[in-house]
């Protein structure tokens, strides 16, 4: 209290100087300079600063990772605070991302992702394209020096005739325009030399048949307690709706490893006091926590890139419904939970998508301009079916309604309560899933 008048004076002064409504919503990074780098012999290129994104150019080489660096950064005068800015940026892999937030004067947060961008070695393969009609996709990894060809149903010997774009002035060791694989495990190499012959890289070409989703055996998780979540890092494939308020999807032991257990719970919305039925979910895509608890699907972003058509999805599953079916209904200004008749049902569904809209796909399970659902399949897991209380393997076929367009994304969703997004379910319903396999 001894400083009370000081605080009052400062508050009055602040009142006189600033209008809350005039505070800027903008905050951005003006400069971002790397001041020290490990390994010390790593070669640094430029730093590219875009809104929400900073890419640091590094020259790829063997044994480069982990890469760590310290930076000095300057932010806009409209920035009030910088949160989660690490003292040292550390990248274990080439696709790792570090995130920090700038807080504008008004309080609006702006996320910034820091990632690495490969610097052209002068002996790089910049792009590989296949002739139209070739039922395959190509991924070039300049960090590893690899070219991965993912073919739908490759018949061996399998020959492709790609158009390869090299670094300016670079030359390739082979002038052959086609590459033939005699079997799925065969690897081909192409040596690329820089125009001044200062650098030479050996590029590895490989072919993949039936591509599986990373971490589809749900062995990899991150965090503990309220931060537990499935590890999305290997390919950024799997997501859950776990957040610091509720953790509906957790690892459980199964068959000597881990499985993903989704549990329907009653969630109390902080401060607003709503009691909402919240189903545990696991899906391909990602989750962004927001305050729209009344429309949980708005926080889920379904779909990951996948360019091959699948015939079905197989998985191991167990389902036990909670004892009492319930529904959240509005009573006055608050949602409360009421018992309703019935037995809870879990659900699994799959969609093969074609996305030709602009920008990144934002799909919440409802129609989006530029998005075509090519095929769909679903399985209902009825809590009344006692055979589901022990593990069984289920194959979920995909029925295609459009086979003219090429797949771009794949959605696989598991939910412990089928109508969870309508606040219906039974507290305690558990859906446990393991070993998801894509069948082509």
């Amino acid at each position: 209290m001894k400083n009370g008048w000081v605080y009052v004076s400062l508050a009055l002064l602040a009142c006189a100087c600033h209008r809350v409504n005039d505070l800027s919503d903008e905050a951005f990074v003006e400069h971002f300079t790397v001041t020290s780098l490990q390994p010390e012999d790593a070669r640094l290129g430029e730093v590219f600063i875009e809104p929400g994104k900073i890419r640091v150019e590094l020259l790829p080489r063997e044994g480069l990772f982990p890469v760590t660096f310290r930076v000095t950064a300057k932010v806009s005068p409209t920035t009030d605070d910088v949160l989660n800015f690490p003292g040292e940026f550390r990248f274990e892999t080439s696709n790792a991302v570090e995130t920090f937030h700038l807080i504008a004067a008004s309080g609006v947060p702006h996320a910034y992702e820091v990632s690495l961008k490969p610097l052209d070695t002068g002996a790089d393969i910049l792009d590989v394209t296949l002739p139209s009609g070739e039922n395959a996709t190509v991924a070039v990894d300049p960090w590893q020096g690899t070219v991965s060809i993912s073919a739908d149903h490759p018949h061996f010997p399998y020959t492709i005739t790609p158009t390869i774009t090299l670094s300016p002035g670079a030359t390739a060791s082979s002038r052959d325009t086609s590459i033939t694989f005699t079997h799925v495990d065969e690897v081909k190499y192409l040596t690329v030399s820089a125009g001044d012959e200062s650098t030479t890289r050996s590029w590895k070409f490989s072919i993949e048949g039936a591509v599986q989703l990373p971490n589809a055996d749900f062995e990899q998780w991150t965090g503990t307690g309220t931060s537990i979540n499935i590890n999305p890092t290997p390919g950024k494939v799997w997501g859950t709706a776990n957040n610091y308020i509720i953790q509906g999807t957790t690892p459980v032991e199964h068959a000597g490893g881990m499985a993903a257990e989704m549990t329907t719970k009653i969630q109390t919305v902080p401060l607003l006091g709503h009691k909402l039925i919240a189903a545990g979910t696991l899906y391909t895509g990602y989750f962004t926590l927001g305050f729209n608890f009344e429309n949980p699907r708005s926080m889920t972003f379904f779909g990951v890139p996948h360019t091959r058509a699948i015939a079905s999805v197989a998985f191991d599953v167990q389902y036990v419904a909670g004892p009492q079916m319930q529904q959240s209904v509005k009573s006055g200004t608050k949602y409360v939970v009421e018992a309703i008749p019935g037995v809870d049902q879990g659900e699994a569904w799959v969609e093969v998508l074609h996305w030709n809209g602009s920008g990144k796909l934002e799909y919440h399970g409802t129609p989006v301009a530029g998005l075509t659902v090519l095929g769909r399949g679903s399985v209902l897991l009825d809590g009344a079916d006692e055979s589901l209380r022990t593990w069984k393997n289920i194959v979920m076929p995909v029925t295609y309604t459009d086979e003219t367009l090429a797949p771009t994304h794949l959605v696989i969703v598991f939910s412990s309560s089928r109508e969870g997004d309508r606040f219906k379910g039974a507290d305690g319903s558990k859906l446990t899933v393991d070993n998801v396999i894509l069948l082509y």
């Binding site: 009052v8 409504n21 609006v108 305050f291």
Partner: protein
């Protein structure tokens, strides 16, 4: 019961607002005065300790008419004692820029940083009891005392408009949406309050006085055991009052019944 006691008891039945205009300084015998008062209040509930005042705070006070009456009696030379009843509405809205504003409910703790719009409105039946000192010039007076207030209606809303929340201070976990729901704390407001008041009055004309008062609650506006915030919210307000001396009697007149 003493004469003064009877006078105070009578004042409870009559009801009034602080600050009757009748100059009592020259009273030779104890008098009971009955006054009417109108006024307006500026203020609301503020965080205590004061270090929790938002860094940037733009208040938009609403002026509402208060009505009431007082009963006073001279007690010793230059001193008189007053009691009253005032019906008043204190209303203020504000834009505030807050940082790591803690909200705690039964199941979680959250810290909000950003811009928020706040609405407070309290309709009170305030019952002040205060002593007044009359300066020898016959026009100026100062007063000090206590008040007790019943909250007839209370509104305390916070609408976060921009910013983010997290489970720990100085971290980011989720941005609040543009259509964030208003947080309503009405049901957590307590039904009573009490505090201190001080003021100054000046006689403008015979029977008419104008006064300035400052009052500060010493009880949190929320019910006990709430833990929404790290701090208490206390009433603090300034009042401008215009009082009219309706009547004054020798004390005997009040003792008839």
């Amino acid at each position: 019961m003493t004469k003064t006691g009877y006078a105070l008891l009578a004042s409870l039945f009559v009801g009034s607002v602080p600050g009757a205009a009748q100059p009592l300084v020259n009273a030779v015998t104890p008098l009971v005065t009955v006054g009417l008062q109108v006024g307006t209040d500026i203020g609301g509930a503020i965080p205590f300790p004061l270090k929790y005042l938002p860094a940037i705070y733009n208040p938009y006070p609403h002026l509402n008419l208060s009505l009431g009456g007082t009963v006073g009696t001279a007690i010793v030379r230059s001193w008189s004692l007053y009691a009253g009843v005032v019906y008043k509405t204190i209303s203020i809205n504000a834009d505030a820029r807050v940082k790591n504003q803690k909200f705690q409910d039964k199941e979680s703790v959250q810290y909000f940083t950003g811009s928020a719009y706040m609405q407070q409105r309290f309709t009170l039946l305030e019952m002040p009891l205060y002593a007044m000192y009359h300066f020898d010039n016959g026009h100026d007076r100062v007063l000090g005392g206590l008040y007790y207030a019943r909250t007839l209606e209370g509104i305390f809303h916070i609408e976060p408009r921009k910013g983010f929340i997290a489970s720990r201070p100085d971290t980011f976990e989720a941005e609040i949406p543009a259509d964030m729901e208003v947080m309503r704390f009405d049901s957590s407001l307590d039904t009573w309050n009490a505090g201190l008041l001080v003021g100054y009055e000046r006689q403008l004309f015979t029977r008419v006085c104008i006064g300035l008062r400052v009052s500060c609650g010493f009880k949190d506006i929320f019910k006990r055991h709430n833990a929404y915030f790290d701090y208490s919210m206390l009433h603090a307000r300034g009042s401008v009052v215009l009082s009219y001396d309706l009547a004054h009697f020798p004390l005997k007149a009040c003792r008839v019944r």
